[in-house]
């Protein structure tokens, strides 16, 4: 069902790419090319860690559930987990 989930996500309107990254920054599954994936993996991993620690610092009971970065060109959505990161890049239709 992992395949199904990922396929479903990829088929949504506006989705440019999907990738799964593990805690060490190694891309497990990706629909984009290698260099882009590596870049996204490295950078977003750090950012997610930072965001998580920020949320925890403000309120230790709190935890990061979702991270959305909206830029001029598209939106990067990061769903963090204990060991993995699910990253989706979408072009929101406005």
């Amino acid at each position: 069902e992992v395949e199904e989930t990922l396929k479903r996500i990829q088929s949504h309107k506006g989705v440019i790419g999907t990738m799964v990254v593990n805690a060490e920054g190694i891309p497990i599954r990706t629909t984009l090319d290698n260099s882009t994936t590596v870049q996204y993996a490295g950078l977003l991993h750090q950012l997610t860690m930072k965001a998580k620690s920020t949320v925890r610092d403000i309120d230790p009971q709190n935890d990061l559930t979702f991270l959305r970065i909206r830029s001029k060109k598209h939106e990067i959505m990061v769903a963090p987990d204990k060991e993995y990161l699910l990253i989706v890049i979408q072009n929101p239709c406005e």
């Binding site: 989705v15 490295g42 204990k82 699910l86």
Partner: protein
Amino acid sequence: MEIVYVYVKKRSEFGKQCNFSDRQAELNIDITPNPELAALYMERNPVDKGVQCSASMSEHEANTERFEMENCGVNHIEGGWPKDVNPLELEQTIRFRKKVEKDENYINAITQLGLIMEHCIKQNNAIDIYQEYFDEEESVEVTEEAPSAKTINVFRDPQDIKRTATHLSWHPDGNKKLAVAYSCLKFQQAPMGMSHESYIWDLENPNRPEITLKPSSPLVTLEYNPKDSHVLLGGCYNGQIACWDIRKGSLVAELSTIEFSHRDPVYGTIWLQSKTGTECFSASTDGQVMWWDIRKMSEPMEVVVMDITRKEQLANALGAISLEFESTLPTKFMVGTEQGIVISCNRKAKTSAEKIVCTYSGHHGPIYALQRNPFYPKNFLTVGDWTARIWSEDSRESSIMWTKYHMAYLTDGAWSPVRPAVFFTTKMDGTLDIWDLVFKQCDPALSLKVCDDALFCLRVQDNGCLIACGSQLGTTTLLEVSSGLSTLQKNEKNIASSIFERETRREKILEVKHREMRLKEKGKTEGREDDQKEDELALNLDDLVSKAEEEFYEVIYSELKRKEAEAMKKTAKPRKSLSLEPGEETERAAGEEEEEKDEDGDEGREDTSP
């Protein structure tokens, strides 16, 4: 410590010695309180007095040493792979990935995350969560805030021997860079060892210039090519024109030959609108304006001598200090001269003599800045001596508007590219004035002291918000203007155009009047017969009119006198006989005079009414 010099003076020559001795305290004056004086005052009860009880604090500032930062990029390479997996080996990585995918944790995690993710994706697709709801209502900016400007950044000349920043040019795309030309404009006073370099600064980094340009002679002007942002044109102090391509490096890419260049420092260089984007023209105080193609810099394409007597004599030529070219009027250009005259020229004229169309004079000194209004190209701004003047092309006798005479010399000026009624000027005492014609015409809307030394040049960025000014010690200051001065107010274009039109009309009326007066003068002095007769008639008419006036006044005066005399008669009855005669005489005389005068007056009046 070695003794360098010994001063010797005998003790007996010093003067009386001070001998201190102890003495008891002596009471010299004792003034007791005088209760009578208290009677002059009244006791005030209760007394209002403010008392403050707060923590006393002191202010202290400390300046830290400058921290140099450098930006470097980091190249990411794949890492994080466990030791046994070689990231370059495709098989191994695939095997590793497959292993991870079999992990139960992985499956659970992905399903969970997948759900959340889908929710957000659908959300995104359904509505634009960042939609602006009240977009139709344009934010009505009632800028009641006072106009203000603040300094954002200061770029200092890194050389030890400071040079004047003589010209500034903004980068054509994005305006993130500023090219500054440095040179010493004092005649032959460039100190030994002064560097010839000019710099291009990146606005983000004021500590170090981004690119250095190395000409053979200091640059007086520097301009970016508006079409190609890698190419710069510079005018040198020795009269040559130099061209750089930033991609090639900091040395000159093209240089004009000395024989065909200007003989004096090049004060104005502007790029022309051409299909190739390689044409430019330059002006210098040697009185010539030259056109160049940067692909072939060995000699100019065209040379025009700024001789307003149209004889092409270099000896009569006026030195050019500023140059103006508007891309919407490609055949016309204007030159501001050292003698205070603006010459408007037509490039496409057939004979060289016809190149010079007309002149506008009005300044007492060199015209340091000349620019057409970007919204109304018929009006242009000149800055020179102690005033800034606005001209209209139609009125050649004088400027249509001018500022009052300032205390310091004005060195540069520019229109705002966003607001048609706003312009900026810089002065020798280091102040920047921002004039808003819609707001106030007699004084600048805002006057800022930018630095202690004289400001030499000024350049406004295309969005109208940022202004860069260069000073005598080479510091370039970047200022940001408040939004009230950099956003177009509603109806401003109409107001500005009506201001210019009104002033032009006023000048035209004055011109016409002056011309009439001059013609009259000419008519009087020339002395042709018809003219003379006409003039005589006219004079006669004038004379008659004045005569009639005089007579009228005399009549009134004599009447008054007569009444006085009568009054005197009545009061002094005993002296009737005596007074009667003179009174009668005066009466009769007055009466006669009156009659005579009346007749004359009537006649006169008849004559004047044809």
